[in-house]
Symmetry: C2
Subunit: 321 residues, 2 copies
Amino acid sequence: MAVYTHVDDEALSAFLGAYDVGELLSAKGIAEGVENTNYLVRAEKGTFILTLYEQRVRADELPFFLNLMAHCADKGLATPRPVPRRDGALISELCGRPAAMVTFLDGVAARRPSPLLCAELGRGLGALHNAALDFSMTRKNGLGIDAWAPLFAQSHDKANSVLPGLAAQVDGELEYLAANWPHTLPAGVIHADLFPDNAFFMRQKLSGIIDFYFACNDLLAYDLAICLNAWCFEEDGAFNVTKSRALTTAYHAVRPLGADEIEALPVLCRGAALRFLLTRLHDWLRVPEGALVTPKDPRPYLERLRFHGGVARASEYGLAL
Amino acid sequence: MAVYTHVDDEALSAFLGAYDVGELLSAKGIAEGVENTNYLVRAEKGTFILTLYEQRVRADELPFFLNLMAHCADKGLATPRPVPRRDGALISELCGRPAAMVTFLDGVAARRPSPLLCAELGRGLGALHNAALDFSMTRKNGLGIDAWAPLFAQSHDKANSVLPGLAAQVDGELEYLAANWPHTLPAGVIHADLFPDNAFFMRQKLSGIIDFYFACNDLLAYDLAICLNAWCFEEDGAFNVTKSRALTTAYHAVRPLGADEIEALPVLCRGAALRFLLTRLHDWLRVPEGALVTPKDPRPYLERLRFHGGVARASEYGLAL
C-alpha cells in the first residue's frame, strides 16, 4: 500500500499524450491497491486511476483483468473502465512496468458495513456474476482448492508457532474439503476478493466495485461465500446473521441460487475461510524486513472456519427461501 | 512521504460533517508532504487536501502556517486556502492529531524547470513576499543562520565519513557567514522551502505554491537565494545562468531588490546552500531503520556552496539591471 515506483509529472504528461484525455492537471501517488503503484490522475477530460503493475501481477494476465472490467462497465456495472490509448491498446508501459489507466469511481468504503450495505453488495455481486456469464476469456483460480494444500505445505512447520494445534486443524480441514468440495456447481467469473475495502458506496448505494486482480473462473457460489466471510462477521468475531441474510437474499434475487448451491454454502464458506487463513498465515510468517505493509492477522479466519464447521444446514446463514 | 495515520472513510465522513463541503465522495491517502499524512478528499463542494500533522510539525505553529495561506489566498495568490469549519476554526483534530483541510490546487511540478518556469517562479516568489508584507503573525526561522552552528555540532564528528575534509570546510564556512551575514537587509515572511516539488504549473504558468510548513520571518532576499540554489543548477551540478537570470530578473520586476540586497546575493546563496547541506547531512547520518523515506544526498549542496564561494560579484547570477 505505497508508491513503489515514482513517476515524475513530466514523464506522466508525456505518457498521457498517448491517450485522448486532454492535458494533465495533476497527479498524486495514492496509498492503495494490491502491491501495485497507483496514481490518482486529473486530466482535462476526467479523473483516472493509473496503475503501474509491480511484480505480483503477471503481465500476461493483465488482458483478462482489463477486458473483464471493460466487459462489466459496458454492461452498466459500476466497475472501473479501462481507458484505451489512441491506438486502442488497454495496456501500456511506464517506468519499465506494465501500466493501465481506468476511470476513477467516486464513493467511500464501509469499514463496518450495515445490513443495508450488505444487501447492496449482494445485489452487486449477483449482477457481476450475471454480467460476466458471456465474458469469453478465462483465468484459472491460482488460489482455488487445488492450491490450498501446496500453499499450506510452505507454512506447515511454523503453523503451531502462530497458534498451538493449528497444523493439525488445517490438515483435517484440507482433508474434509478435498472429500466434500462441490466441484459440479455452476461456475463462471468470480471477483474472489470482494472485501469491504474493494466496494464503494454513495448515499447507501453501491457506487463501485474495484480491484479485479484476483478475478478468475471458479464456482459462483464460492464468491458469495467469500463475501459472507468478509462482510458478515463483527470485529469481535461474532457472526451477524442479519447481515448474512441481507447479503445472500439480495444476491439470490439477482442470480437465483440452485438448491445444490444453497446446500453447499457451509462447505463453500469453510473453503473461503481456509483460503484467507492460508494466505494470511503465509504472509504472516514471511514479513520482509522493513516491510511497508503490515500483514493481516490470520487468526480471525481460523475462528470463522470453526464457526462454519459448526453450521449444520445452510438456513443458518439466514437465506430466506 | 507515506500515509502514517490511516483514517477510515466512516471517520472521515463524520469529520467532514463539521465543514460546509457537502458529503464525502471519495478519499485517497496520498504519498506527499513533509512527514505528514495527506488525503486527497473529493466532496460535493470541491476537492481538498486533508492533512494530519504528525510529530514534526508543532501544533502551536499551525495557526501561523494556516493563517499565512489564508492571507495569501485572500490576496489572489495561488496558495492553498484553509477551509474553515462551520464554527470558524481552521484547525481540527482527527485520529488524535491536529488536522486541517485546504483547497486542492491543480498543476504539475517540474522536475527540470525551464528558464520560462524559473521566471514564473521568480514572479510568484516576489508576489508572495509582497502579499505577506502586512501579515501580522511572525515565526522565527528555526533553520536560520543562528541554527547552523548548533546543527552542525550534531554531525561534526561524522562529517568526514561522508566526504573527507567536510568538517573543516563547513567550519570555515560557518565562520565566514557569521562574519559577513547581512542582518540588516529587508526582512519579512519567507517560504523558505520553495523547491520545484512545491510549485505547480499549468500551461507554463505558475498555478500553485504549496507546503508552507517551513515559512518564517527572515531576509526576503535569502528566500530568493534558496530558490536560486534549488532551481538554477543542473542535475550534473552545473550552474545555469540563463535560469538564474530569468529567476532573479522576474523577481526583481515584482519586488525590486535594493542595491544592498543585490550585493549580498553571493553570501546569501552561500548561506542557503549551507542550510540545505547541513539538514541533509543531519538526516543522511541518521537514517532510521526501516525508513520509508530515502534521505537526500547532501553532496550536491557542497558543490553549490563551492560555486557560490567563487562568485566575486552578484552580476555573475545574471541579474540584468
